[in-house]
């Protein structure tokens, strides 16, 4: 009996000490971890807008985040957007509710600050204060609007869809007319050399300059890339002065309506990418128009 007590006591003490150590390290490193993630995403976004060491981003570049929720009030569904409002030079966040028919339904002020709004849990708490049960809300997706002053630079859409092996996470950049201006693969688990080639320039840059109309009918073809197109796509390998501006424009116009050439040995991945991006862009274009109309109805002082 004594043995068992000694053993249990020993184990419990060891577990407690271990738990304390881990808890301590967790609290110490949590902030740094989140900060790193934040910087990483920021760097990707700025890169996608075309800024780098050679062309640094202008000082008035701002990112505004919209978070879309699906609100279910006893079977009646509506779409809710958590978005920033500008009131006397200060940014505050509000929930705008739009019915499924596109009509503006209401706007509620949220008690949440700018640095907390990117965290799922904080948004949940703020929304719980406004949407009381039995109303339930589910997070759908988010959009980031990049502006320099009054000019809309791009819509940045993080999104994910299923690929060949598992989920592929991407970030799309669209201009104000919903033409794709950039695509970054954030996460994927595809086979190296086969599906993982989606992150190579010669595949992902094919989506650039595709207009909304073209995306709706975009297909994947099992053809090799034409030699000049491939050279044009691999932007990072251009030597100085290899392409004149006229030549760049010529190639861009020649291929901007071309279908997507599949990756060798990775047709399923190529099709999944095209399907996923098609869905993301068409749904976003539809929704942002509805949001714009609804906001006009209310004349809410949105920050973007």
């Amino acid at each position: 009996m004594k043995e068992i007590i000694r053993i249990t006591l020993g184990l419990t003490i060891a577990c407690l000490i271990a738990g304390l150590i881990m808890g301590g390290v967790f609290t110490a490193t949590e902030r740094a971890k989140e900060h790193n993630e934040y910087l990483d995403i920021r760097a990707t976004m700025t890169g996608m807008l075309g800024f780098n060491a050679a062309h640094p981003a202008p000082a008035n570049l701002r990112f505004y985040s919209l978070y879309r929720y699906i609100i279910d009030d006893k079977g009646n569904k509506s779409i809710g957007y958590v978005l920033p409002l500008r009131k006397e030079k200060k940014i505050s966040y509000a929930l705008v509710i739009i019915g499924l028919d596109g009509k503006f339904k209401g706007i509620f002020d949220l008690n949440i600050s700018k640095d907390k709004v990117s965290k799922v849990e904080e948004r949940k708490t703020a929304l719980n204060a406004v949407l009381k049960p039995p109303t339930i809300f589910t997070y759908a997706d988010s959009t980031i609007i990049a502006k320099t002053g009054p000019k809309l630079l791009a819509y940045l859409l993080p999104g994910e869809f299923s690929g060949f092996k598992s989920i592929i996470k991407v970030m799309l950049a669209l201009n104000s007319k919903f033409t794709i201006t950039g695509l970054e693969i954030m996460e994927d688990e595809e086979d190296p050399g086969l599906g993982a080639e989606i992150s190579q320039d010669y595949f992902k840059n094919q989506f650039d300059d595709k207009s909304l109309q073209r995306i709706k009918t975009l297909k994947v073809v099992k053809q090799p890339l034409p030699a000049d197109y491939r050279k044009y796509l691999e932007k990072s390998k251009w030597e100085k002065g290899e392409f004149t501006k006229a030549e760049i424009d010529k190639i861009r116009n020649k291929y901007k309506d071309h279908n997507i050439c599949a990756l060798t040995g990775a047709t399923i991945t190529s099709k999944a990418m095209t399907r996923g991006i098609k869905g993301m862009v068409t749904k976003f274009a539809y929704r942002i128009r509805i949001l714009d109309n609804a906001l006009k109805q209310d004349k809410a002082p949105v920050a973007f």
Partner: protein
């Protein structure tokens, strides 16, 4: 052997229950069935006859994918069935069959009378999803040959068929037991209290507990069985797979049925891998292998060949 039989019966009973439970979701008093027929096509079967004129009007139908309630899908054409009980709906865009779709049928007219509206969920059979997790863990994402986990134990116990099968079965039992416990722990204790960083410790603790429990139970109930399998129990702890499965369950937020399927598939996959490997290795003992390759090196190369073969399963989609 008796213990094995009772385990088999138990798992069969569980599977049957799952089938029954999952089949109950599609019923509605006016609509007996609504399911995906193809990439662009849904077929509705009504409980009684419906007027053809009403059936042909696209305005009486509303359909959206569950995660996108604000996007109504466009119907391209409607073909009512000859028996007046079925209607084929064709859509312009491809349907994402992996998402459940909500179908609203308004103002159903049957024999001139308006009998009301109905809302049903159209989705692929849940049992199909569960089965695909099982087959996934068993073949497509086989933990030994495709995910390269559990190799130490794998190479250690695959020399003879009897050892291999013994290890495989013991592992399967402990796997299912500890995976279910880990799921329960994660859902009811770790998540609500934001103790996610204790995942590793808790899961491995539960594994040790399961091993200890199975050890004690086996000792008391069936000493003969314990003599045969007992020695493998200790090795189970050193197996990477036993920790990987709870981590996957936590990451993907599986529910109880899905966790059960995953752990069963993982255990069965390990058993399969061991069985295949031991069959080959027994034959290799009699072959003329060069001195430097004898023992482990040749075993690794054989495993590599198996892994190549299993690569053929990748990307397979059933249901």
């Amino acid at each position: 052997m008796k213990l094995l039989k009772s385990y088999k019966l138990m798992s069969l009973a569980v599977v049957l229950c799952l089938v029954l439970v999952s089949g109950c979701k599609n019923k509605h008093s006016y609509i007996s069935k609504a399911k995906f027929k193809g990439n662009h096509n849904i077929i509705i079967t009504f409980a009684g006859e419906v007027d053809t004129a009403w059936a042909r009007d696209a305005k009486n139908y509303g359909i959206y994918a569950k995660p996108d309630p604000d996007i109504q899908l466009k119907i391209s054409k409607i073909i009512p069935g000859p028996d007046k009980k079925t209607v084929d709906l064709y859509f312009t865009d491809e349907l994402n069959q992996n998402q459940p779709h909500i179908l609203t049928v308004k103002n159903i007219r049957s024999n001139g009378k308006d009998i009301g509206s109905a809302v049903v969920e159209v989705k692929k059979l849940y049992f199909g999803f569960l089965f695909s997790i099982l087959i996934g863990a068993f073949l497509i994402h086989n933990f030994v040959f495709t995910k390269y986990l559990g190799l130490c134990v794998f190479f250690g116990t695959s020399q003879k068929k009897t050892t291999a099968v013994g290890m495989g079965i013991t592992f399967m039992l402990v796997m299912v037991a500890s995976a279910m416990m880990s799921w329960a722990f994660y859902q009811f204790i770790l998540k609500p209290f934001h103790l996610d960083f204790l995942q590793i410790v808790v899961f491995i603790g539960l594994v040790s507990l399961s091993v200890q429990a199975v050890d004690t139970v086996l000792r008391k109930i069936n000493p003969a069985l314990f003599k045969a399998f007992g020695v493998y129990l200790v090795l189970v702890i050193a197996n990477c797979v036993i920790l990987a499965v709870p981590l996957i369950i936590a990451n993907n937020e599986y529910n109880a049925a899905e966790s059960f399927m995953l752990s069963l598939g993982a255990g069965a996959g390990f058993l399969l891998a061991l069985f295949l490997m031991s069959s080959v290795r027994e034959k290799l003992e009699l072959a003329n292998v060069p001195v430097t390759y004898r023992g482990l090196p040749i075993a690794f190369i054989v495993a590599g060949l198996f892994a190549l073969a299993f690569m053929g399963f990748s990307g397979m989609v059933i249901f």
